[in-house]
Every structure is written in structure tokens, then in C-alpha cells.
């Protein structure tokens, strides 16, 4: 059991490395999907084991014990994240495969699969690692592969957005690396556990307060740049809108979350909540989140292009997580995790649904998509459910996440009123852009009176992926209690 985290990082990397030996893109695709499913199954087993044991495991990498060597650490929360990331990855690739084959020449599919698999391995490594510098290295893999996932589609616009993405991403990495260097120079550790102890000692003795706070600030800012929190979100809409469907889903569903996982680790294991609260970094995150929720939603209202609107909505959803983390409490952390899960399953579903409709009608603007859901009921249905979920309709994942967040806000002090206000306002704004969109896609086109076509789907794999995402969304919405208990347990052991 203890070996599962290690193998779930090594296996994807090694399986990615052998892809150049495959002569056909389809084989590469089946191969990486198989590995991802295997890792998902192993993560589920690990989750069951850890929940029953009520503990976490560490994995020493090599022959030297922890403060000197490197190590991995897996608790229930890590296992949940690994499991859901694997599932979303498989479903995104499966659902976006038909679009991929259309958007990309055949000889590039293998390389694309390779990069996607490396991206997936980097995500898992970020989830499981217990070392700050290892996290940095895998953040860079994530940045490189995600950037190419945007640029891989053959169009000038996607390359332009990729280069903007890369600029922001490199800026964020620069800030993170500087923060790591500062932190190392005052602590001499790179492992999260060693860092946490030394930081606590430094705080008790009052030494090196300025470098400590500046380093925390730099890493928070760097990670917010990378996860497109609002003042730094300029790259996100173009990058997500111009990528191919599978890449859009993976980018906004998973890649942004990877950075937030590191932020959560830094908050709990290294700086500790007291330092984050006393140095007002939590307040900074809270206000960034609050501003982002409103600003990104208002920007989404003004978009005429389908995917850009969804991308802005991603930025708004990331702001929820920042707001929840900014509460600086265990409840806030649980709410953030719930939002991560809910958004990881919802946003790819919306992107895939919209992608299916775009593929059916060939239009990218709302005007061209009138009546698209009538031709493509499965895509329309998932888009509708996803949109309603983000508006906060009960029994769907988005509602549960918002409910969790509101519960956390009620436990907080002065943050309660602004948080609840922001939550209410952004839900209304979400409804203001998703409901017209839903009405447009189900509306009739001119004098067209044909009934909704329920034919056998042209791409059964895509339909199956959409159905599974839909089921996951409903599950997250209805099985609210057990999942929250699980996440609470995970946060306690994080």
C-alpha cells in the first residue's frame, strides 16, 4: 500500500517516456488512458486503506531517511485528489479525443499524448510530494506541458495565447523560486516537515521576520499568478478558449488546482495558519478571492464567445477557493477542497459539452449556437447541468461547494458578511450569464420546428465521458455528508 504514491508518479512518467516508440497516435492514447485508469484504481485502494486506518503514510525515496533524503507523503486528502484528478484526466481525454483528431495533424497526436501524460504525472507528484523544491520542479513540468497543450492546436491565435501564458507562468515561477531561495536561506530545509518546524522556531524567537513574510508573500503571489487569480488573470481566457477541447478541460479543471494544492500545503505544513493570519496574507487572499469572484463574473457577462465565457467563469471559481483559504480556518480549508473537487468535475463537463455543440454547429459565438442543444442533446444536457450547478441549484456539485463555503464563512469573524455577500452576488452573476446561454442553446433556430433529435451518438466515447461526468456531478451534489466527512478527515491529516 505504501508504494502506491511512488508508483503513481513513476508509472506515468515512464509510460510517457516510451511513447516515442509507438508508431500510431491511437496506441499512445489507449496506452496513457490505461495507465491513468490503473493509477485511479490504485488511488481508490489507497484511499480506502487510509480512511480505514485513519492515518497518513510517508514514503522515503532512496536509502537515506527524511531530513536528508526526499520523501512522499499521502493522507486521505491526497488520495482523494489523486483519484479525482486521474478520473477527470481520463474523462477529459476520452471526451475530447474526437476534437483532438480534428484539431491536430495525425503525426502530432503521439507527442500530445506524451505531454498530457507528463502533465498528469506532474500533477500527481505535486499532490504527493513532501518537498518544496520537488514541488517547484514539477510545477515547471506542469507549466511547460500545459503551455504546449495550448499551442498544439494549429492556429496563430493559440500560439499567441500560449506565449502570453508562458510569460505569466515564468513570472510566477520566478517569484516562487525566489521565495524558495529566501526560505532556504533562513531555515536550511527544503522538506515541508523540516521547514514547518524551523519556521515555528523562528516565529517563536522573532528572528528573520521580514524575510519569512516576504517569502510567504512571494510564493502566494507566484501561485496566484499561475492559478489565474483575478488581478493576474489576463492570460487565462485566451489560453483556455483557443486550446482544443480536451486541453481546455484539463487546463481549467486540473492544472489550476495543482498550484492551489501547493498553496494549501504551504499554508498548513510550512507557514502555519497563525503566521498567515497574523501577517495578513490570509486577508490578502480573502480580498483577492472576493474581488475575483465579482470581477471575473462581470467580465464573463460581457463575452460573446462561448469558451471565453466559460474560461472567465473558471477564474471566478478559482476565486472561491482563494476566498475559502483566506478564511484561515479548518472549515475554510475543507470548503476549499470541496470546491476543488466540484470544479474539477464540473468545468471539464461544461467544456466538453460546449465542445460537442461547437463541433456539431461549427460556431463559436452565442449567435451561431442557437438551437445547438437540439441537435446535440447530450452536449446540451451536460452544459445545462454544469451551468446550473455553478449557479448553485441544489442537488448539484456547485451547490454543495457553496453550501460548504457558506458554512465556513458563518464560523469566521469579520469575514462572514463580505464572504456571504460575495457568494450571493457571484451566484446571481453566474445565473445571469449561464441561464441566457442555456436558453439560447435550447431555443429554436428561426422557423425550425424539428423536434429534439435523440439519435445514436456519433462519438459514443464522448457521450460516455459526458454521462460519467454528469453522474460524478450528481454524486458530489447528493452525497454531500459523506464527502464532507472524508474531506474533514483528510484536512485534519494534511
Amino acid at each position: 500500500m505504501e508504494n502506491i504514491p511512488f508508483f503513481s508518479i513513476m508509472l506515468p512518467i515512464l509510460s510517457a517516456v516510451v511513447i516515442p516508440f509507438f508508431s500510431k497516435g491511437t496506441w499512445a492514447f489507449q496506452w496513457i488512458r490505461g495507465v491513468q485508469l490503473a493509477v485511479a484504481a490504485a488511488s481508490a485502494a489507497l484511499l480506502a486503506f487510509l480512511c480505514r486506518a485513519g492515518t497518513y503514510v510517508t514514503y522515503q525515496l532512496g536509502h537515506v531517511p527524511a531530513p536528508w533524503g526526499n520523501q512522499l507523503r499521502a493522507g486521505p486528502l491526497e488520495a482523494v485528489l489523486a483519484l479525482s484528478f486521474s478520473l477527470v484526466m481520463v474523462l477529459c481525454l476520452t471526451g475530447g479525443w474526437s476534437d483532438l483528431k480534428r484539431d491536430m495533424p495525425a503525426h502530432r497526436l503521439g507527442s500530445f499524448c506524451l505531454l498530457m501524460q507528463l502533465l498528469y504525472a506532474a500533477l500527481l507528484a505535486i499532490v504527493y510530494t513532501d518537498d518544496l523544491f520537488t514541488a517547484y520542479v514539477f510545477v515547471e513540468i506542469l507549466a511547460v506541458t500545459a503551455c504546449v497543450a495550448v499551442a498544439a492546436k494549429e492556429s496563430g491565435r493559440s500560439v499567441v495565447s500560449a506565449i502570453r501564458y508562458l510569460i505569466f507562468s515564468c513570472l510566477g515561477s520566478g517569484l516562487i523560486l525566489l521565495g524558495i531561495a529566501l526560505l532556504y536561506s533562513i531555515t536550511g530545509h527544503l522538506l515541508f516537515s523540516g521547514l514547518g518546524e524551523t519556521v515555528a522556531e523562528l516565529q517563536a524567537s522573532g528572528a528573520y521576520q521580514l524575510p519569512l513574510v516576504v517569502s510567504a508573500l512571494l510564493m502566494t503571489l507566484g501561485l496566484s499568478v499561475k492559478s489565474a487569480q483575478v488581478p493576474f488573470h489576463a492570460w487565462l481566457p485566451d489560453a483556455h478558449a483557443s486550446a482544443t477541447t480536451a486541453a481546455s478541460g484539463v487546463l481549467s479543471g486540473l492544472v489550476l488546482k495543482g498550484y492551489l494544492v501547493i498553496l494549501m500545503k504551504l499554508m498548513t505544513r510550512v507557514f502555519g495558519r497563525e503566521l498567515m493570519v497574523s501577517s495578513h496574507l490570509c486577508d490578502l487572499m480573502f480580498f483577492l478571492g472576493l474581488g475575483g469572484m465579482l470581477f471575473a463574473s462581470v467580465s464573463a457577462l460581457r463575452q460573446e464567445e462561448v469558451k471565453r465565457m466559460i474560461a472567465y467563469s473558471s477564474s471566478a471559481q478559482i476565486s472561491y477557493i482563494f476566498l475559502a483559504l483566506g478564511l484561515g480556518s479548518t472549515y475554510g480549508m475543507t470548503a476549499a477542497c470541496f470546491q476543488i473537487l466540484a470544479h474539477a468535475f464540473t468545468k471539464p463537463m461544461i467544456f466538453l459539452g460546449a465542445g460537442a455543440m461547437i463541433a456539431e454547429t461549427g460556431g463559436h459565438y452565442w449567435g451561431e449556437l442557437r438551437g445547438a442543444a437540439r441537435k446535440m442533446p447530450m452536449g446540451g444536457l451536460t452544459f445545462t447541468v454544469g451551468g446550473l450547478s455553478l449557479c448553485g441549484i441544489p442537488l448539484l456539485a456547485g451547490f454543495s461547494a457553496k453550501f460548504c463555503l457558506a458554512g465556513a464563512a458563518l464560523q469566521a469573524g469579520w469575514q462572514m458578511t463580505p464572504a456571504l455577500f460575495g457568494l450571493a452576488a457571484s451566484s446571481v452573476l453566474n445565473a445571469m450569464y449561464y441561464i441566457p446561454a442555456i436558453l439560447v442553446i435550447w431555443g429554436r433556430h428561426g422557423s425550425d420546428t424539428s423536434p429534439i433529435r435523440f439519435t445514436r451518438p456519433a462519438h459514443p466515447q464522448r457521450a460516455a465521458a459526458l454521462a460519467l461526468l454528469l453522474a460524478a456531478n450528481l454524486l458530489l451534489g447528493t452525497a454531500f455528508g459523506p464527502i464532507r466527512t472524508l474531506l474533514e478527515q483528510g484536512v485534519a491529516l494534511f
Binding site: 520542479v137 503551455c147 492556429s155 496563430g156 491565435r157 500560439v159 531561495a181
Partner: protein, 125 residues
């Protein structure tokens, strides 16, 4: 104050380099200069790390039997710089590749110009 600055001269130089890189990254619309700015920022961090590992009178950590460990400089920042350089090389290569793609298509290195060309409806998707 001056004494402190003199003692921390490498760190101060790193700060200057970082600021120059930052300004270059933000003010130059030319993509190649942006890349240079990013590299300057990275270099500043590497200088900072390398200077941090130095110990007065220390030698490079080629270990010898019977030597006291305080006779060497700290090897950890060296390892971190090595990793950082490789990462910086990789992102620079990717950056240059994207720049070359853009140049082939738009015949320009000016990011503002490219952005407008790309948005002007020459192609939507």
C-alpha cells in the same frame, strides 16, 4: 548601513538584476527582449542562491578524508542552482520555439503588434 550593504553586496546585485529583468519583461514589447528579461530574473535568483552557499574561507565540496565539514561551502545551493538552470534552459527553449512560430506567421517580434494581428479577424479559430 554602508557596511551592511558592502557585506551583502552579492544579494544587492541580485536585487538589481532582478529589478532590471522585471522591468525589461514588462516594458519591452519585443519578445526576444522579454525572454532576456526572464533570463535576467532567473539569473538573479541563481546569483542569490550561489552567494548564499558561500562560507568565508570555504573550498569547493570535493570531499577529502579527515577534513572538518566546516571547511567546505554548502553544497545544497549548488544543487538547487543546477536544477534551476536546467529548468530555465527548458522554458527558454520553449519560449524561443513559440517566438519562432509567431515570427513565421506574423513576421513580427513585437507582441503588441502580434496580438492585434491575431485579433484582427485574420482567423478566429
Amino acid at each position: 548601513m554602508l557596511e551592511a550593504i558592502l557585506q551583502q553586496r552579492y544579494y544587492i546585485t541580485a536585487v538589481l538584476l532582478f529589478t532590471i529583468g522585471f522591468v525589461t519583461l514588462f516594458l519591452h514589447p519585443n519578445l526576444l527582449k522579454k525572454i532576456i528579461g526572464l533570463n535576467l530574473m532567473d539569473t538573479a535568483v541563481f546569483l542569490f542562491l550561489a552567494a548564499m552557499g558561500y562560507v568565508e574561507g570555504g573550498v569547493a565540496p570535493m570531499l577529502e578524508e579527515g577534513q572538518e565539514w566546516t571547511a567546505y561551502i554548502n553544497p545544497v545551493p549548488g544543487g538547487l542552482v543546477l536544477t534551476g538552470i536546467v529548468v530555465a534552459v527548458s522554458t527558454t527553449a520553449l519560449f524561443l520555439a513559440l517566438t519562432q512560430r509567431l515570427y513565421r506567421r506574423y513576421h513580427s517580434l513585437n507582441l503588441d503588434e502580434i496580438l492585434i494581428l491575431a485579433r484582427s479577424g485574420e482567423e478566429k479559430h
